[in-house]
């Protein structure tokens, strides 16, 4: 009886602490655990008794890469509870800060964390030695995103200018106009990145996924819309709990998500591009087509292309919003808090981020629920790994381990988020 173990105790190039442990027995995957051992962080529990207005800033601390997503989902949930409607320039500014976060986050992952897998490098430092231009472009793109978040959020990391009902301060037209030049350059880099990533070597691997994303009648989704899938799911955000279930697994401090009575599902850039391609800007669509991206795309390794298509879109959308900007009279809308339950779901860089809050008549949080994208993708990550390993058992251990890590990085997992941290272990017997 042949046995093999693949073990990665500390996964590199992911956000946070996690591990992979695979046991192969008689050429079959006997056991596979994508373990997240970052300590649980209990955000949902310590939100209880805090004021509704604290939710955006407290939950933003869950993640240093996607704080805007937490602020957005928290604000929308509270606004849903209190019957506040965001429109006009304030709504546009919310989309703009989200563009900034997508650009920052996608640029970091595409070029510095995921690209080394495809190019056969250990890390971004090796890429920088051989292809300094790639790393320079990545840093320039990321900087454009950082500038957006800094302008609208008050600072680049953990922005502090977002509040329920709007912002504390809104930018002037002059401040906005200063970002046009850097964003146009960033857009050119993003267009080139779509071509470049589309030409990378991709493993032949496809699975029949259920992709889940938000959808909006008029725009590529950031902040609002219904939740849909390619298998008929079509629900308003307030019905999330009826259709999605979280389960605890002993080996992970992050809960696993499932659509009720169905298998694992897939959220993030590839799901969004598959379900919302027609809502991308003309340039983003044209660039994707010209690069040969065929939809629906069922190859998770091609998520890197989807991420670049979204980089083009985010730059385009940011430029559109800046061009049409008129400074609003008030930085936020007035509203009256009341006892109610509110639901918010927005498209974080890694996929849908759901928040639900029950607020009492004092405006205090009685109950909170936060479901980040990485915990929703854990099931798909494990299923991908099982199938990929089963189909590639002939690969030598080192290569197999390498590609397992790449498989995980397809999802740009943010482990810090999913425990509201990664390491790899493959065992063959």
């Amino acid at each position: 009886m042949r046995s093999r173990t693949i073990k990665v105790d500390w996964l590199a190039r992911v956000e946070g602490e996690g591990a992979l442990h695979v046991k192969i027995k008689n050429s079959k995957v006997a056991d596979l655990k994508f373990r997240i051992f970052e300590p649980p962080r209990f955000f949902e529990a310590f939100m209880r008794g805090r004021k509704y207005s604290e939710a955006p800033d407290i939950t933003a601390r869950i993640c240093g890469i996607c704080p805007v997503a937490y602020q957005m989902s928290a604000c929308h949930a509270m606004e849903d509870a209190f019957g506040v409607k965001m429109d006009g320039q304030l709504r546009a500014l919310r989309r703009l800060i989200y563009c900034g976060e997508w650009i920052e986050s996608h640029a970091l992952h595409v070029f510095l964390l995921h690209a080394p897998d495809f190019l056969g490098y250990e890390d971004a430092i090796q890429i920088a030695r051989d292809h300094p231009d790639i790393v320079r472009r990545a840093l320039q793109l990321k900087k454009a995103g950082n500038s957006l978040v800094a302008l609208l959020g008050g600072r680049e990391i953990h922005p502090i200018n977002v509040r329920v009902g709007g912002f504390y301060r809104v930018p002037t037209r002059r401040e906005m106009a200063a970002l046009t030049g850097p964003l146009e350059e960033a857009r050119d880099i993003a267009v080139e990145a779509v071509r470049w990533t589309a030409a990378l070597p991709f493993p032949e691997f496809e699975r029949d996924y259920e992709f889940v994303a938000m959808i909006h009648p008029d725009e590529y989704p950031f902040n609002e819309g219904r939740l849909i899938s390619n298998r008929g799911l079509d629900i308003p955000v307030c019905e999330y709990d009826k259709h999605f279930a979280e389960q605890q697994v002993a080996y992970s401090t992050a809960l696993h998500s499932q659509i009720e009575n169905r298998e694992a599902y897939f959220v993030g850039p590839l799901a969004r591009v598959n379900l919302n391609f027609d809502k991308l800007s003309p340039l983003a669509q044209k660039t994707a087509r010209a690069a040969g991206l065929r939809l629906p795309c069922q190859n998770p390794f091609k998520s890197i292309i989807a991420r670049c298509v979204e980089l083009v879109y985010a730059c385009d959308e940011a430029l559109r919003i800046i061009a049409e900007y008129e400074m609003p009279d008030q930085p936020a809308v007035q509203f009256q808090p009341k006892a109610a339950t509110g639901y918010g779901c927005t498209e974080a860089p890694r996929g849908i981020l759901y928040h639900r809050y029950r607020i009492d008549d004092q405006g205090l949080i009685a109950d909170a629920r936060i479901i980040p994208p990485t915990s929703q993708n854990q099931g798909s990550i494990e299923a991908d790994l099982r199938e990929f390993i089963s189909a590639n058992l002939k690969l030598p251990n080192k290569k197999l381990q390498w590609q397992c890590e790449q498989t995980i990085r397809n999802y740009d997992p943010c482990i810090s988020c999913s425990t509201h941290y990664l390491n790899l272990h493959i065992e063959q017997t």
């Binding site: 590199a12 190039r13 992911v14 956000e15 946070g16 602490e17 970052e38 240093g64 890469i65 970091l108 510095l112 964390l113 890390d123 971004a124 430092i125 090796q126 920088a128 030695r129 300094p132 790393v135 320079r136 840093l139 990321k142 900087k143 950082n146 680049e156 990391i157 810090s416 941290y421």
Partner: protein, 157 residues
């Protein structure tokens, strides 16, 4: 033309000894002339590389964990050799300070003189402030940098 010296304190002010870089920066701010730029940051590599590009000498201060006694002061000349990556595993982020330095070196953007003071931390418990040994080390590093920056004559008392 490159400016003279930039001091960067790295850390999270709310996570115990992780705050030491930021605290050293704050204390130096009180003692050094206002025209000496001193920054406090969480250590985003993009930010660091962008910021230090225009400086001749850059001094970084951060908490480290190497297994040495808490409060031990490690001094690294980053122009001579890479930083020991396992010292700086304090960040939950995918890229840390050693990676930022190596990226800059590969791109030819490393400052002509880059000194890193790593202060051995005891713990990173949220909301606890500095432990006693790290507190002492912080003062020592403040004095060391103060003398390096060439303002020793201004020491009061």
């Amino acid at each position: 033309m490159k400016s003279q010296v930039l001091i960067i304190g790295i850390g999270n002010p709310d996570r115990g000894d992780d705050a030491v870089g930021v605290i050293v920066a704050q204390r130096l701010r009180q003692r050094l002339p206002a025209n000496v730029p001193i920054l406090q940051t969480t250590g985003d590599p993009g930010f660091l590389m962008e910021t230090w590009k225009t400086f001749e000498t850059v001094i970084l201060i951060d908490a480290v964990r190497s297994g040495a006694a808490p409060g031990t002061i490690h001094r690294f000349d980053a122009n001579e050799s890479p930083l020991p990556a396992n010292f700086f595993r304090c960040s939950t982020h995918a890229l840390g300070i050693p990676e930022a330095i190596e990226l800059a070196r590969a791109l030819g953007d490393i400052p002509p003189k880059l000194i890193v003071y790593g202060i051995e931390a005891k713990d990173f418990v949220t909301g606890t402030g500095l432990s006693a040994s790290v507190e002492q080390a912080a003062d020592q590093v403040v004095k060391l940098i103060f003398s390096v920056v060439g303002c020793a004559t201004a020491i009061q008392g």
